[in-house]
């Protein structure tokens, strides 16, 4: 170790005055592992009446808006929704695509940023991965809710019926089933694997039921070299393998549409267009959640800092631009070479009775991010980011709404055009699934360490400052 490179910031003593501004960054504001552990455990066990009120209200809402309404839907029929000929797909599928889109964030943040060693990811990979899992859980409900006969949903599962008839493996819906199952399983595992050391940490510091749970989940983790090596190997397999799975999931979701003989859907660019949209909405949702976590969960102001929201904000800006590129690409090609049907459809989107949805989509996905996110100050202001990212997600919801019911209602036979308007049961179910997501997240925030302590600590170990000339610059060393 060369003498001039001294891990100044890594000493557990207060850094000198000249490095004070570096302490704004989590990696240069190290605390002893013991303290980090305590902070995280504190955040898990600390509950307030406000928390329990929220849990109670959300439970009631999930029971009524989601489960109650779903039961009513099952016992009366899909007719209580606003679907009709020709809008056979409505809010059900819109919300499905929305949640699947949201679920891309975890993988994106956790896997892609991990592969590319983006250091700012460290404190919030877990929060993002949880979003993936719960987003998928909320999303996977929708194909079931949507079914006309949900009580026989298992006929889609690959196993033969009494006459040795298997499902149709040429149907994009079966692809959907396979892809979402794969993604749900692998993202859950991917959430679980890096959790092992943290679970062991929690196991060592809790008693009672919590201890029992963590002991069972930690799989006897001790932190031996073999365990670390295995974990590193598994995580790297996952990080590389789950990225194509993630791309495949939203590509296949887009194929539900692109494979169809529907004007405006039959587009080769739908795959990447949907992926970019999904990542845009997912990363935005990560920001939303981080802002909320920072404000509500104990000790999170230490772990989640403006620098993280700033970094994610830059990503959102990039993906907003990419989304605009794909949107324009799709639009121009359809408009230029499209049939009359498609042209009529595009003008219907922009000038029909529901055109406000189309304009809101452009406003929220392009105009607002481009106007705000270039500014570092705004990117570091949590409430601004909260508003912007929520709007982006509303915009992305509108995008799916435009693509699904508004496109279906305007097809090749003008005699059979139809205007779709969602009815209360659909809206209730959609809100119910949002409540379910929030409820799961609230409960999880008190059950599993929201911050991967060992990763944060690992990062802090790896970050150093180096004196170059008359100033010090941050550096990061490769530890693995």
């Amino acid at each position: 170790m060369a003498a001039e490179v001294k891990p100044i910031a890594n000493t557990l003593h207060t850094p000198s005055e000249e490095h004070e501004e570096l302490r704004e960054q989590l990696m240069f504001d190290p605390r002893p592992r013991e303290e980090l552990n305590r902070m995280v455990l504190d955040s898990m066990t600390h509950t307030t009446p406000r928390y329990w009120t929220a849990v109670g209200v959300l439970t009631v809402l999930v029971l009524t808006l989601l489960l109650g309404m779903w039961g009513y839907l099952i016992f009366t029929g899909i007719g209580i929704s606003g679907e009709r000929r020709p809008n056979y797909w409505g809010i059900f599928i819109v919300t499905f695509v929305f949640w699947i889109g949201i679920s891309h964030a975890g993988t994106f943040v956790s896997a892609i940023l991990r592969v590319f060693k983006a250091e700012f990811r460290r404190p919030f990979t877990r929060a993002a991965e949880l979003m993936t899992t719960f987003g998928l859980a909320a999303g996977a409900l929708w194909p079931l809710i949507h079914l006309g006969r949900v009580w026989v949903f298992y006929w889609m599962i690959p196993y033969p019926n009494a006459r040795w008839l298997w499902p149709n493996f040429r149907s994009p819906l079966v692809w959907d089933l396979l892809a979402i199952t794969t993604y749900l399983l692998s993202s859950t595992i991917y959430l679980f694997l890096p959790l092992l050391p943290d679970l062991a940490m929690a196991r060592d510091r809790t008693t009672g039921w919590r201890h029992a749970i963590y002991r069972a989940l930690a799989l006897g983790w001790r932190g031996t070299e073999a365990e670390w090596a295995r974990l590193r190997k598994a995580i790297s397999i996952f990080a590389f393998a789950i990225i194509p799975v993630m791309f495949s999931v939203h590509t296949i979701v887009s194929w539900d549409f692109a494979m169809g003989m529907v004007g405006g859907w039959n587009s080769t660019i739908f795959g990447p267009y949907f992926i970019i949209g999904a990542i845009l909405s997912g990363v935005s949702a990560v920001i939303t959640i981080l802002v909320v976590l920072r404000a509500t969960l104990k000790n999170m102001t230490y772990f989640i800092r403006p620098e993280h929201i700033d970094a994610l904000g830059k990503l959102v800006l990039v993906f907003s631009m990419a989304w605009a590129y794909f949107f324009f690409n799709d639009y121009l090609v359809q408009w230029y070479g499209g049939h009359d049907v498609v042209r009529a459809l595009l003008s219907f989107h922009a000038s029909g009775p529901d055109a406000w949805i189309w304009y809101c989509m452009l406003l929220f996905n392009i105009v607002i991010p481009w106007l705000t996110l270039w500014n570092k100050k705004l990117r570091r202001t949590p409430w601004v980011m909260l508003v912007v990212t929520l709007l982006i997600n509303v915009g992305m919801y509108f995008e799916r709404y435009t693509i699904i019911p508004l496109t279906l209602g305007h097809q090749r036979m003008p005699f059979d055009w139809g205007e779709y308007s969602p009815r209360f049961p659909e809206i209730s179910l959609a809100l119910g699934s949002l409540c379910l997501f929030m409820l799961l997240y609230l409960l999880a925030s008190r059950l599993i360490p929201m911050v991967p302590v060992w990763e944060v600590r690992e990062g802090q170990e790896a970050h150093l400052v180096r004196k170059v000339g008359k100033t010090v610059v941050p550096t990061v060393s490769e530890l693995d």
């Binding site: 029909g352 009775p353 036979m413 003008p414 005699f415 059979d416 055009w417 139809g418 205007e419």
Partner: protein
Amino acid sequence: MSDTISRRNFLKLTGLGAAGAALTGCGKAARYVTRRPYYDMPEYGALGESTYFATTCGECPAGCGLIMRTFEGRAIKAEGNPQHPVNMGKLCSRGLVGVQGLYNPDRIKGPGRRAQRGHDQVTALDWNAALDVVKQALGGGQKVAFFLGLSPDHIADLTAELAQAIGAPAPVRYGALGMFDGRAGLAEACRQVFGEARLPYFDLAGADLVISFGANFLETWLSPVAYTRGYSQFRRSAATGKRRGYFISLEARRSLTSGVADEWYPVAPGSEGLAALALGRLLAERGWALPLDASAVDVDAAAQAAGMTRAQLEHLADLASQAAHPLFIPGGNALAHAGGLAAARSILALNLAAGALGQPGGLYLSPAAADSSSLRDVQALVDRMRTGQVETLFIHGVNPVFELPPALGFTEALSNVKQVISFASFPDETALQSDYLLPDHTPLESWGYQRTLAGADRPVYSAQQPVVVPLYDTRSSADVLLSAGLLPYSDEVDFIQKKIAPLITQGGNVQATEIATFWARFLQSGGWWPVQAALAAPSAPAGLEAAAPQAAAAPEGQFHLVTYPTQMGDGRGANRPWLQETPNPSTTVVWNTWVEINPATADALGLKNDDIVKVKSSAGEVEAAVYRFPAIRPDTVAIPFGQGHTALGRWAEGRGANPALLLAPALNEAGDLAFGDTLVTLTPTGRRRPLAKLESTAGVYGEH
């Protein structure tokens, strides 16, 4: 039984149905013993086998032949009788939905006495007590009156004999469809032009040019299935050199019939006769020998009154004079005016001048004697009722409280009738105003015949027989009337057999040596008719009076009203859910009433689709939602007939509006209602009620 049927229950149910059929066949009414053989046919009891019965459709007077598919004692599906000369295996919506009348849950299920007219409360009656009431009532002699519908004919024949036997006035036969057909005017015009008061039959199949003056012959006019068949032949080009027929329609509103016309001229309502006369003059100039003197007609003025140009009339005249077999059809819309009879005469005269009487592609006189009454007869009945000259009124096959314009005063006059006996199968508006409900079987459960067939190219006795055992405690009205013992027939079947007995010796499609065999074959083949087409050729008349009907333009702020029947027929279709759900061909509206307004007029009035508008005439007012109809004269509005029931069961009641409320009781020379002369005003109400329709307004009209 619950409303939902599991597969197992369904099987059980069918088993029960079969058992029920056998039981009813031998027990319920002794008379049915005589037709046990039909129900005991071996295949009838065999599960999984269909049995087919030939019968006659009772949904309108056209009398199409049906082959009813039955399955284990239930009527399943109406199919056309391929041999029947009227429909040749084809059917319209109304006939197809007949089973929804048979199995309608709102039927009157047994005889009853109404505590108070207009109230729902009915005390069940024993049939014996009911028969006593009828017997007593028939003793009333000339104070008895019969009001019958246009079908079935055997009831009309029987009632006519009965009326004669007891010294009562002849039965009145009338119905809204007859009104829309302009039957009285047609028959009267035929009498004046050809000397016989019969309905004309136009052989579309052989024609190469058809000019229709407001005839909706593809919808309800006289015999729509027969005319549609003829139209189909007319439109075909064949390798033999037959060219596709050319069809021109003159009508204020582009109806379904006018819709398929090659040329449509939206003439002003009431100007059809004038246009015909002007066309006659132009044709006379082209060498046609017109039986009336049209030289006085000012072609330009006539064209202007009709809303046409002289060039257009010249064009029509050119086409007609070049055509080999032109036909000129006087429809109900042309006849329903003050000058309707003159119009009918002028139009028939064109046919006569074309020289195709009694030839293929020409005009025949159907054997259908004009035995339906005119509205004048109805008015006379109403007058007698009002002045207390009617003690007992028997009503069968017609719903006058709904079908007749209320302005005629029928409902008010009813209150002066001591007892009203309704044979209605359904709780319609008239049944609601009756004292006794003696429900007849529905047509599919009944015996009978229909012989007044305006759509056949030969005389026909179309046979009606039960295809299922009567579902409820209903009884044939013929039997009820015969039970008084005033006529020498033991029962309905005996009466029908005696009526058709003369046919045994006349040859035709069924032949036998004695009545039992003939009867069996008559029923099996669906009726009797000659093998060859045979209709009377009309005779050429002497000089006719060429009265030019006057057509008045609608005054400022008022509109002509066109009322037209839809698949609801005379309104009895309104309780058939599938007739309600079958889209109206022109507007695709289902389940309701609309007002057709030209978009330009609607814009001037500030009316959008689905705005509720109040339509007011001198006789009354109705409210209905606007349908901006692009093919109607701007000075005309149209309202379909058949909805607006205040009774008739769950699917009909409280749905839409009845345009009969708007019709003033103005009769023309022939005794037809001049409903085409009705003028209305429109007042937006500011309310909206979206019409249920199949089409997308945005897609078809570009309006959101």
